[in-house]
């Protein structure tokens, strides 16, 4: 009987996430489409106007990035998705309801986080693959490879932004909200604030670990919110 209630609760949670994300979750994908189109027409335009050599010179010798407008897309998407998912949960102290579900609150939290992170993964996966395909249309495979390595830290910044936004929204203390926001900003800026191709290749494993740590922090904030609210 208890299992049945838990299953129904999980279904209910999934349905609630679907309701929240079905339209607003598409906004980052719409922006991605615009960004990819811009990247394609940047390269296509340069090649048709001045020839392939001009495009290669710009990219290889002058570090021109046709996908530059997408620098902040994963970051915005992370903040947006976390806000869409957690603002309705946390606004007006509604988080208290979360602790009365017939399912463990940490499982429920990671279900929501998993959905958001999965959606973000789909977005950055499409971004990297599509950009690699677009680059390969005009340039050798080496350029496509380095483009993906250049996009990777921006994508990691998106995951950190997602986890930090969720943390800020779940947090109940205004001082700690500011604290989490400041700490998140430090790492996000470290990932998006660099010029040139492949500037984070050596540091990617470390920044990946930091992104994973940000997700690990959320459950104890939820736990404290529960203790504070009970």
């Amino acid at each position: 009987m208890k299992n049945m209630h838990a299953t129904q609760a999980v279904r209910g949670l999934l349905y609630k996430e679907w309701i929240k994300l079905r339209y607003l979750g598409l906004v980052p994908f719409a922006l991605l489409l615009v960004g990819l189109g811009d990247s394609f027409y940047d390269m296509h335009g340069m090649k048709s106007a001045n020839g392939g050599l001009s495009l290669w010179n710009a990219v290889i010798f002058r570090s021109h990035m046709p996908f530059e407008p997408m620098r902040y897309l994963p970051l915005f998407s992370g903040v947006w998705l976390a806000a869409v998912q957690f603002v309705p949960e946390c606004f007006n102290r509604r988080l208290r309801l979360f602790f009365h579900l017939p399912v463990n609150e940490h499982k429920a939290l990671f279900l929501i986080l998993g959905l958001g992170a999965g959606l973000l993964s789909a977005l950055v996966g499409i971004l990297c693959l599509a950009q690699a395909c677009i680059t390969s249309l005009f340039m050798p495979a080496e350029a496509a490879r380095l483009s993906i390595l250049t996009l990777a830290p921006w994508c990691l910044a998106g995951f950190i932004a997602y986890a930090a936004t969720a943390l800020i929204l779940i947090e109940t203390s205004p001082v700690r909200r500011l604290w989490h926001g400041g700490a998140g900003t430090v790492f996000v800026l470290a990932l998006v604030d660099a010029r040139g191709y492949g500037s984070h290749i050596d540091g990617l494993p470390w920044f990946g670990l930091i992104a994973a740590l940000w997700f690990a922090t959320i459950s104890n904030v939820l736990d404290r919110a529960k203790r504070g609210s009970s």
Binding site: L53, V186, G196, H200, G203, L213, S219, R224, A225
Partner: protein, 425 residues
């Protein structure tokens, strides 16, 4: 599980503080340290120092005499040949050598190597321009090449491999005994040079090959130079004097490959580390001048060598006592406040990563800072929660100093010692 989560948040907070706080606190200390460039006046047989501090230049020699800008220029005619020419003050002779502006320009190579050039990611696509371009002059080639199990030229217009050219050049390399895969490639894509010197390739056996494109056809030289596997990079040079083909960079030395037969000649440097120090070379018709320095150390090493790279004079410049004192005060104060710092970007590298460093303070200063942080945290717990902190919290502060103390004060302790004490979130 919850402890790991709390530790993760505390650790991230410490990392963020270690990035932010030292940077802000350091602004308190003056940063107008003196830097110096060193050159040799062959005519006057003395070293000339160009001092730079706070946006101003001043000049002196190794005997302690102050020099005016005009005196400095006159002492270094090779380095200021254009200015002296404009002023009509070119010397008739320098150290017994009849001054010839053309020869001075021909032997006026200037070379700069920085650690950032070594770790800069590249596309692994290289240029091979036409070395005998005729009246058109040097032009960017319409293709780039990559090294796989053969040499492949990719045409920029079609983004396709030029099979015919790739076959011809692969055959030429194979005929010269080149073993794939290539270990290193050195090219020079600039067209702003007086001639093209092709590309230097290091094959799987670490042998150096030199490849040119002459009238569209490959020309390969198999050299007798086999490099040790510790080599970091190889660069092709186009000096007007045509004395050296390239430079080879190792973790602890630099070699020049001579023009006749690519034999390596070691530069007579004293403990140079290319991955950490910037290096400059100035050629004159009489000498070679080398200098290398590491950022923020207040030390620059200078070597004067003859045309055959035999050292003639060595000099190590140390910053003055006032600057060294300022540096020590900064190091001690920072070491007292913070046990370490985190930077995502350092001057020596292009790569953004996690760079931890200490401030070079004596260990008693660092320990005193950590002890102060521990005491402050214990007092905070006593005052705020009425009990002593848990051992794990103390260990955390012991390892992270003030960063950990501030973090735990804001977020709460990692472990509960008193039953009514809230734990961190």
């Amino acid at each position: 599980m919850m402890l790991l989560s709390r530790l993760a948040l505390a650790l991230l907070s410490v990392l963020a503080l270690a990035k932010i706080l030292p940077g802000y606190v350091e602004q308190v200390f003056p940063r107008d340290y003196e830097t110096v460039l060193i050159a040799y006046s062959a005519d006057q047989e003395r070293l000339i120092f160009k001092h730079y501090r706070g946006g101003n230049w001043s000049y002196s020699d190794d005997r302690g005499n102050r020099l005016t800008e005009d005196e400095m220029r006159a002492a270094l005619p090779f380095a200021h040949i254009r200015e002296l020419e404009r002023l009509g003050r070119l010397p008739d002779e320098v150290a017994g050598w009849p001054f010839d502006p053309e020869a001075a320009a021909r032997h006026g190579t200037r070379m700069r190597l920085t650690p950032r050039q070594l770790d800069k990611p590249d596309f692994s696509l290289y240029t091979l321009m036409e070395s005998v371009p005729g009246v058109k002059g040097l032009e960017t080639p319409p293709d780039l090449f990559r090294m796989t199990d053969r040499i492949e030229f990719i045409d920029a217009a079609s983004n396709r491999i030029d099979e015919d050219k790739s076959r011809r050049f692969s055959r030429a390399l194979a005929a010269a005994g080149f073993t794939h895969p290539a270990r290193l490639v050195g090219d020079n894509a600039s067209t702003l040079k007086s001639y093209d010197n092709g590309a230097l390739l290091v094959d799987a056996q670490w042998r150096v090959f030199h490849l040119w494109q002459v009238n569209g056809e490959p020309r390969v030289t198999r050299t007798d130079t086999i490099l040790p596997p510790s080599v970091l990079a190889i660069r092709v040079l186009q000096p007007p004097s045509r004395e050296y083909h390239g430079i080879v960079i190792f973790p602890d030395q630099l070699l020049l490959l001579d023009w006749e037969n690519h034999i390596p000649h070691r530069l007579p440097l004293d403990g140079h580390r290319p991955a950490a120090e910037s290096f400059s070379a100035e050629e004159t018709p009489l000498h070679w001048e080398f200098s290398h320095a590491r950022n923020e150390t207040g030390v620059r090493k200078f070597v004067l060598a003859d045309r055959q790279l035999n050292p003639l004079l060595r000099h190590t410049w140390h910053e003055g006592d006032a600057d060294a004192g300022k540096r020590a005060i900064r190091a001690n104060s920072m070491g007292l406040l913070f046990p370490f710092r985190l930077e995502f970007h350092i001057d020596e590298n292009t790569q953004r990563s996690l760079y931890f460093s200490t401030f070079g303070a004596p260990w008693p200063a660092t320990l005193a800072g950590i002890a102060a942080a521990l005491c402050a945290y214990i007092l905070w717990c006593r005052r705020r929660h009425g009990c002593l902190p848990h051992g794990l919290d103390l260990l955390f502060v012991l390892l992270t100093g003030w960063f950990g103390a501030i973090t735990l004060a804001v977020l709460g302790p990692l472990m509960r010692r008193c039953p009514d004490l809230p734990i961190s979130g």
